[in-house]
């Protein structure tokens, strides 16, 4: 992609009284992209966002905005706006005053403020709510006000800190689509923080998977899902079977006591590896059709598919998680078939 880089984090570290929250974060964010910082709680994703927003100072490293170092620029001077986790709407102001807050500080002309606030409230489907008190709004409406309050300032970058966390599932899915549409329409760079992998995959152009203050993988949602770089990413993004294996040589791996063809190469001979197989990539066949066999232990109906847990009889034993639209009953002896391109080989993560 030939796009301009708007934010660049170079070797950013953050230390809270001896605990390292961020370790050498290197990350660039392109103009107009929807970038998601994804990871379990405590992985440093919110800290990263707060450093970009100017609410935390990095212990070391540099932060560039359009090529200019902005480490020392206070939050109120940055051309960045934030949608906070719990919205942080001003309770003493009504909807209009909340949204107009930033413009009033910039001493924008009254007529223009009214015009802009009206436009932005239309955009978030809150026309006619100007005079409403914040307390009288539902969670979803407060959410929209928070987004409008940030967007009305026409920031170059919008930071969103788990903005949908407090909403119920249905509303969350609606807002995901709305946010994505808004981002496309307005052409603003979004930096989005979430722990919800589904949200990350469905909304983002780029996903940054973080763990323990380090970046595990950066890539498009499809890359991250199909080609996870390590067992953590594979496990965190969607469900996975992760099993110890040994890479015998290029294109041949041994796991569960059996040999499998695969599409990976470039490992040392007899290197121990993590083998990752997605539950939906395992086919359930008749016992005779595959050397990998097992007994169905549990079946759960999940709506779109069945989730089956199959204990393989091979050595070492492993409990396979399988997603399939075809159900085999509990107690059935089945064969499991795994195609070569469904097998993902990952280097063992030795150092933590």
């Amino acid at each position: 992609m030939q796009q301009q880089i708007i934010i660049n984090l170079v070797d950013i570290c953050k230390d809270y009284n001896g605990t390292e929250a961020l370790k050498n974060i290197n990350l660039y964010i392109r103009k107009n992209e929807f970038l998601t910082l994804l990871g379990p709680s405590g992985c440093g994703k919110t800290t990263t966002l707060r450093i970009i927003g100017g609410f935390e100072e990095p212990t070391s490293g540099d932060l560039f905005f359009n090529g200019v170092r902005i480490n020392d620029l206070p939050a109120y001077k940055r051309r960045v706006n934030t949608v906070f986790q719990k919205y942080a709407l001003f309770p003493h102001l009504n909807v209009f005053e909340n949204v107009a807050f930033g413009l009033k500080i910039k001493k924008v002309d009254k007529k223009i403020i009214e015009e802009k606030v009206r436009t932005i409230l239309n955009l978030v489907n809150l026309e006619g709510y100007e005079k409403r008190e914040i307390d009288s709004l539902s969670g979803g409406q407060q959410q929209r006000v928070a987004i409008a309050r940030a967007l009305v300032n026409e920031p170059e970058v919008l930071l969103l800190d788990e903005p949908l966390g407090a909403l119920d599932l249905k509303l969350r899915q609606e807002m995901q689509i709305e946010l994505k549409n808004m981002q496309k329409r307005l052409g603003i760079t979004f930096v989005y923080v979430t722990h919800d992998q589904e949200e990350a995959l469905s909304m983002s152009d780029t996903v940054v998977v973080m763990k323990d203050g380090t970046i595990q993988q950066i890539g498009t949602p499809i890359d991250i899902y199909n080609e996870p770089k390590n067992a953590f990413v594979a496990d965190f993004i969607g469900e996975s079977n992760i099993i110890d294996g040994v890479m015998l040589h290029d294109y041949l791996v041994e796991f569960a006591g059996l040999l499998f063809d695969c599409v990976d190469r470039g490992f040392a001979e007899a290197e121990p590896v993590d083998v990752v197989v997605r539950p939906e990539d395992i086919q359930v066949v008749v016992e005779e059709a595959s050397p990998l066999r097992g007994e169905v232990k549990e079946v759960t109906f999940k709506g779109v598919h069945y989730e089956m847990l199959v204990d393989s009889a091979t050595d070492p034993a492993y409990r396979w998680k399988i997603h399939s639209t075809v159900m085999a009953p509990v107690g059935a002896k089945v064969g499991l078939k795994i195609m070569p391109d469904a097998i993902h080989i990952m280097k063992k993560v030795t150092v933590k």
């Binding site: 719990k86 309770p91 500080i105």
Partner: protein
Amino acid sequence: MKKYWASYPYLLWMVIFIFLPLLLVLFYSVTVRTEEGVRFTLEHFQRFMEPIYLKVLYRSVKLAVICTVICLVFGYPMAMVLAGNHFKRKQVMVFLFVMPMWMNFLLRTYAWMTLLERTGLINAFLSWLGLPSLNLLYTEEAVVLGMVYNFLPFMVLPIYSVLSKIDKSLIEAAQDLGADDVTVFRKVTFPLSLPGVFSGITMVFMPAVTTFVISRLLGGGQFTLIGNLIEQQFLVVGDWNFGSAISMVMMLVILISIGVMSKYEKENEGSGLF
């Protein structure tokens, strides 16, 4: 509603010790005892309208207002410092601040007398420096000083408790929208702290306008306040009727001031002062 009976003892308490005495005061204030018996009259209130008494009322309200303003001017920044993150051991700071209140009110006021009097510490210090001694005690300023000293915590604590409950993310949100520190204070912190300010003002103004001990000790009886007047009528002169009438006027003043405060507070709900 089942636990309704639990409030009966308190209701009884209120009737015996608050409601009945109030009725008695009201009764005394509008009656006069003559040879034919008790007769209703408004003459006590009329008497209070005499300039000499109105002057006392004026002085009381004036000193109370001055005291409240000074408490607000000093108390707000103090509350901000206490609520801020400047101290690692905030609890200790609050504790130190509240501790003087454990000492008896009279003791604290007497202590000021020994500090301010002609041979007191301050004048001793001044004469040690070779400066002429000052007339500090028995002045209006001394009375105000005593009031401020005694009532300042009542201003600081409510403001402190409101300030320390303000969500930090609101401050960050304001900064995020382009507000510098001054604007954050003007548009967010101060408007949100108004409930604390109002209750602080009420809690300082009320005891300040009714005090009689501070004015007697530090004012030396020269600055009769309405509290002193009431005290005199009951304990010295023995005119319970007039004393009751003044008490009623006093209550009226307080009720009005509370009314004004709560009206003001409601008007300000939902918008900043600036």
